[in-house]
Amino acid sequence: MGFWKNQLTGPTDPATDAAWDTGKPRKGFFTDTSICIGCKACEVACKEWNAVPEDGLGLLGSSYDNTGALGASTWRHVAFVEQDGDRIATARESGRRLVDLGMPALRATAEAAGGSSDGSGVTDLRGATPTERTAVGQRESTGQPFQDGGSAGVAVAEAEIPDFRWLMSSDVCKHCTHAACLDVCPTGALFRTEFGTVVVQDDVCNGCGYCVAACPFGVIERRPGEDTVKNAGIAQKCTLCYDRIGHDQTPACAQACPTTSIKFGDLAQMQDAARERVDVLHDLGYPEARLYGANENDGVGGTGSVFLLLDEPEVYGLPPDPRVTTAALPDMFRKAGFAAVAMLGLAAASFVGGRRR
């Protein structure tokens, strides 16, 4: 049961679960948004290497972001967020609370805490009193937050809060430990690679679109367009450059990044680098720095793409507490089982009762 449980939720090595025995370490990204300069070289390099078509020529009026979101023809997306001093103060306050919670920061699930089940775990905590937070934090639970504040304390002297800042962040497929897209794929077009990443086989996908609804991050999409468009109608997303990393090459986006904001390597090392970096930023007086996706106890079992953010995930267009749709599967089966047994019982009872009558 444990084996099956791990395939649906919680910490695990997804490549092993997928029956790979190559012994290759799981690969992933660490995207450090604190040094992103918003050049979008990652977007262009990704498209060049993967021959992803142009994705529309409209001005969005959204700072310097004219890409909008990840999609079938956008596998890297750089968000541009303009913030005033008040918002920066709020970000710092929320970061400070994450640090106060300790590492790993815990979150109450609806079941464990008996609280709301809207999934916005961290947001729930924002309004809580310190006592409540402690109480919540002490509870053991199955689901944990996507963000964590790292292991170090906050520097005594915090950096001055500027009047304005411009956040830039390059988003990408998360290559989840428990990948909902893969779990729901009826054709086997989506598969887990020996590197623990999740890749679509274009020639197997039948375009059913189950994965699109399943992805808790809104990453995967079917490519719109006529037949002349490459892979039109087929589900498309980042492959973590499967065709490059298989030859010991760096994915195109990480290779192109001039400031090493996008780092690529063994996931364990990426997670370590991310934790070190968040500690450095805390020491420098930026408690707003936090990690996203580095917690293997979160709703998708941790991600293959780890991010260092300087504000709450929603600010960057990221879900605060995504959960793999299949995480509830055992519970659903259990409840369905109860229901079936109960119905059978009732049915049986009705017959029994009928006889009595």
């Binding site: 040094i35 262009v44 142009e54 409209g58 009026g61 890409t67 400031t259």
Partner: protein, 884 residues
């Protein structure tokens, strides 16, 4: 820098990771600001006030690096008695000639003891015949200083190392900047007193024996009627703080394209020859002797004194055996300049039908140059136009889809210009060098052959020359001799293309005689004026030293030290930091252990260190030349600025700058602000062109200035390249910034009813354009002289046409043409305009809108074009917006 040079910015990011503080001073908040410790918005065009106030702060608080300043700069040099400062003449320096709108430079000269020549009247004049500033401006003489300072007749100057004499440069400097205070900065630049002190503290604490500060600039400083003086102010500051010639110091110019540095070293400019040798002027440099006298004096210090050897070697490279001592090395084969033939004057000549043909090589002036309308109308007067570009750019299609077709000003069937569109090889389809901003030549190998008929520039020009020579081969006309006598024979490589290493070798130069005949020169010091050497660009000599193409050196950084001498090759002599003798103290010892770089090694009797020493390698620190010794032997052991005529860093420029020996604040050609320092409103030596097609908004609160109340500035975005020829045709780049937009503050948006994502029409005294609106807090309104000044940001990548994936109105169409006098750079970083919601009118209606604005403002051909305004009745232009 992050915005326009993201790849280079990785090193700034790295420096920051190691603890460097990064301050970004820019009218708008950019990607660079986002990655900096602090962003300080500044009013466009007010930089001399800001930098001058830093100079004043450093002087007044005695924060300058005294040992460095006394020994290595001209701070202690005396200026002659005739010099008068702007402080005395209300914004003019002595020597202003209102007739010519230019300065005579005589009165700015150094004082000399005059012991040997009573005719010199006690001042150090220039080498060769005295040339008026107006004449110098005609050939953009400032461009000649790309590799060293201007020539002086000798270096026998008077110095007072106590810095107390009232006519020392130091005291003049102090007086000149005394009124540049933090309060003036606040009121003129829009930078708060606190922010000023933040910068002042940061740079002074980070300069001295143990630390160095560097300044980085690009066209935000240069593209002004005062552009060269912006950089000069920074140079003064850096010399005072001891930040020149030292690791981590310097003033870094970021160039706008690959090899723009290369295209001034081996110039595509009208006024200089390779290696910054002057192009001869008709009437001034008629004879070889006149030319030699003008380019350098044998009595001045340093390596420019050998300019004759550089010039002869160049002529020998071009004309080979035909160039002999008897015919002055074919000096008379060189064309002579007859006036200013800069790009803007050439376009005006086109409009007069004085120019028949034009080559555009990877340039899109219909979009990228100031006053796009004038550019396009000029092109329509040509007989023929050759466009060599990767795409059918707007400059190649203006005759069918340009804005003037839409307004009816041009009719396709009336345009007689024959346009030839020729396909070029891209940078991966040809081999050769790029020279980047650090003067580093880097070889690039050809990755693939160019497709179809595409040719590299090398192939194209070789073939063009071959065909012209073929046509002329039977000519007996003497004017064809320069072409027929050219050395025009290059070996081909295995693919049948000209071997570009042969061209690099020609540039490097070879020995023609003696034991080494045929061997490449190792250094420019080997060049001779007797015809025994060749060399196409003396500063590049050594790139092929030892017969090795050093530009192709590729030793990875991890296998060498930080100076990385084995990656590429930097001119001159592979030096990575110029004037690096200054990294050691006068005794030749490093200023500090932390900043040790190049030093004197007593044991070996040589200069040594991490870099190639930029000094005569065996000249001892305590060496003092005999009276009157010129050239490299004239350099004292503590004269680190070896390309300056006196061996010193110039705080005050007795020669070389045409608009003043010290930078002084003047307002831009178009400005809503009255010059707070002087009656002289704008640079009195700037080049103006009073023409009906080049009108200006009234400035400084004069009546009509309220018609164009806002300041606009133009710039580039990461996603596009200049006029878009290499980016708007590429879907992956076009989609990232698909439409022309203007950036406005929320306050301006509220004032004018602009909506984010909506449309706006911008009107200048030249034309009107439309743009989508981005409302952003990255633009900051400023309080200047008690009034709110709004700045509007305009990226200039789009153009009107039908070939690109994304098109739009061109920001540069708003600009007029007014130039800096030193290098004839246009003022394209600041102008005045109005903005209102909605799209612009179409067709003739557009012309009516522009005319209506012009009429309402009362602008005339002379508006903004009065050069000397010191005599103007102050009340005329003092009715500023405060009263309105």
């Amino acid at each position: 820098m992050a915005e326009c040079h993201p790849v280079g910015f990785q090193w700034v990011a790295e420096a920051r990771r190691r603890g460097a503080k990064v301050i970004h001073i820019d009218p708008r908040f950019t990607r660079t600001s986002a990655s900096a410790d602090k962003h300080i918005p500044i009013r466009a065009g007010s930089d001399v006030v800001f930098l001058g106030a830093l100079v004043n702060h450093v002087l007044a608080k005695e924060l300058y690096f005294r040992d460095y300043v006394v020994a290595y700069t001209n701070a202690s040099t005396l200026v002659n008695e005739d010099y008068r400062d702007t402080e005395a003449l209300d914004g003019l320096f002595s020597g202003y000639d209102p007739e010519k709108g230019a300065y005579s430079l005589k009165s700015w000269a150094y004082e000399t003891d005059g012991s040997d020549d009573q005719n010199r009247a006690g001042s150090v004049g220039e080498a060769g015949p005295e040339e008026h500033g107006a004449m110098k401006s005609d050939h953009s003489a400032g461009d000649q200083h790309g590799s060293g300072g201007p020539a002086l007749e000798h270096a026998k100057v008077l110095r007072d190392e106590t810095l107390q004499h009232p006519r020392t440069v130091f005291q003049i400097l102090k007086r000149h900047y005394a009124r540049y205070t933090p309060e003036l900065v606040a009121d003129t630049c829009g930078i708060s007193v606190d922010d000023f002190h933040y910068v002042a503290k940061a740079i002074t604490e980070n300069s001295g024996r143990d630390r160095t500060t560097s300044w980085v600039y690009s066209v935000g400083w240069t593209q002004h009627t005062l552009g060269a003086q912006f950089i000069r102010t920074s140079a003064i500051l850096q010399l005072l703080l001891g930040n020149m010639g030292r690791p981590g110091g310097g003033i870094m110019a970021l160039r706008g394209h690959a090899s723009i540095q290369g295209s001034t070293d081996i110039p595509t400019l009208y006024n200089i020859l390779p290696g910054y040798l002057a192009m001869p002027m008709a009437g001034t440099h008629d004879t070889w002797e006149q030319y030699l006298d003008a380019i350098a004096s044998k009595e001045q210090k340093g390596f420019w004194a050998n300019a004759d050897a550089y010039a002869v070697s160049l002529l020998k490279s071009w004309w080979g055996d035909t160039a002999t001592a008897e015919n002055n090395w074919c000096y008379d084969y060189l064309p002579r300049l007859s006036g200013p033939h800069g790009t803007y004057q050439t376009v005006m000549s086109m409009l007069e039908d004085e120019v028949e043909g034009y080559f555009l090589l990877g340039q899109n002036p219909a979009v990228g140059s100031a006053h796009g309308r004038m550019q396009r109308l000029g092109l329509s007067h040509l007989k023929w136009l050759v466009v060599r570009d990767l795409n059918l750019i707007e400059s190649a299609t203006f005759w069918k889809d340009g804005p003037e077709i839409a307004t009816g000003e041009l009719k396709t069937e009336d345009i007689q210009t024959e346009v030839f569109f020729l396909p070029p090889a891209s940078h991966v389809e040809k081999a050769g060098t790029f020279t980047q901003t650090q003067r580093l030549l880097q070889w690039r190998h050809k990755a693939v052959a160019p497709p179809g008929d595409c040719q590299s520039e090398l192939e194209f020009f070789y073939e063009l020359g071959r065909r012209i020579r073929q046509k002329l081969k039977d000519s007996t006309d003497p004017r064809d001799r320069p072409l027929l006598d050219l050395t025009w024979d290059y070996p081909v490589d295995e693919t049948g293309e000209i071997d570009p290493t042969a061209v690099l070798l020609e540039i490097n130069g070879v020995h023609l005689t003696g034991a080494d005949a045929g061997k490449p020169l190792d250094t420019y010091i080997d060049m001779r004026a007797d015809g025994s050497t060749t060399g196409g660009c003396w500063i590049y000599t050594g790139v092929f030293g030892g017969g090795v193409n050093h530009a192709a050196s590729r030793v990875p950084g991890r296998e060498q030290n930080e100076v990385a001498l084995d990656w590429g090759w930097a001119w001159p002599m592979n030096r990575r930091i110029l004037y690096n003798r200054a990294s050691a103290d006068p005794d030749g010892k490093p200023w500090s252990e932390r900043k040790a770089y190049v030093w004197w090694d007593e044991a070996s009797g040589k200069w040594t260190g991490d870099d190639v020493p930029d000094f005569p390698v065996t000249t001892r620190p305590d060496y003092r030349p005999g009276e009157g010794t010129g050239g490299p032997q004239g350099l004292a052991g503590d004269d680190p600025f070896i390309m300056q005529a006196d061996g010193k860093g110039w705080l005050f420029t007795p020669k070389g700058m045409l608009d003043g020996p010290l930078p002084t604040h003047y307002e831009p050609q178009e400005s809503p602000v009255r010059n707070p320092l002087y009656a002289q409103q704008s640079n009195p030596a700037r080049k103006v062109f009073p023409r009906k097609d080049n009108l200006w908004a009234p400035s400084a609160g004069a009546p009509g200035s309220e018609v164009y109340p806002y300041v606009f500035t133009t710039y580039r975005l990461t996603e596009h390249h200049t006029a878009g020829g290499m980016s708007r045709w590429l879907p992956y780049l076009a989609e990232l910034q698909p439409e022309f937009f203007c950036e406005v503050s929320p306050e301006l948006a509220a004032e004018r009813g602009l909506e984010n994502g909506g449309w706006a029409t911008l009107v200048s005294a030249r034309t009107a354009i439309e743009a989508r609106v981005l409302v952003t807090e990255r633009m900051t309104p400023m309080t200047i002289g008690g009034r709110t000044i709004h700045q509007i940001g305009l990226p200039y990548h789009w153009g009107v046409g039908s070939e690109a994936l994304v098109t739009g109105d061109a920001a540069n169409d708003l600009l007029g043409v007014a130039l800096d006098p030193n290098v004839q750079i246009q003022e394209s970083k600041v102008g005045s305009c109005d903005i209102k919601p909605g799209r612009r009118p179409r067709g003739e209606e557009l012309l009516r809108l522009v005319a209506e604005y012009q009429s309402r403002s009362g602008t005339t051909v002379m508006t903004g074009n009065e050069l000397d305004t010191t005599g103007a009745d102050a009340t005329d232009i003092d009715s500023t917006g405060q009263e309105h």
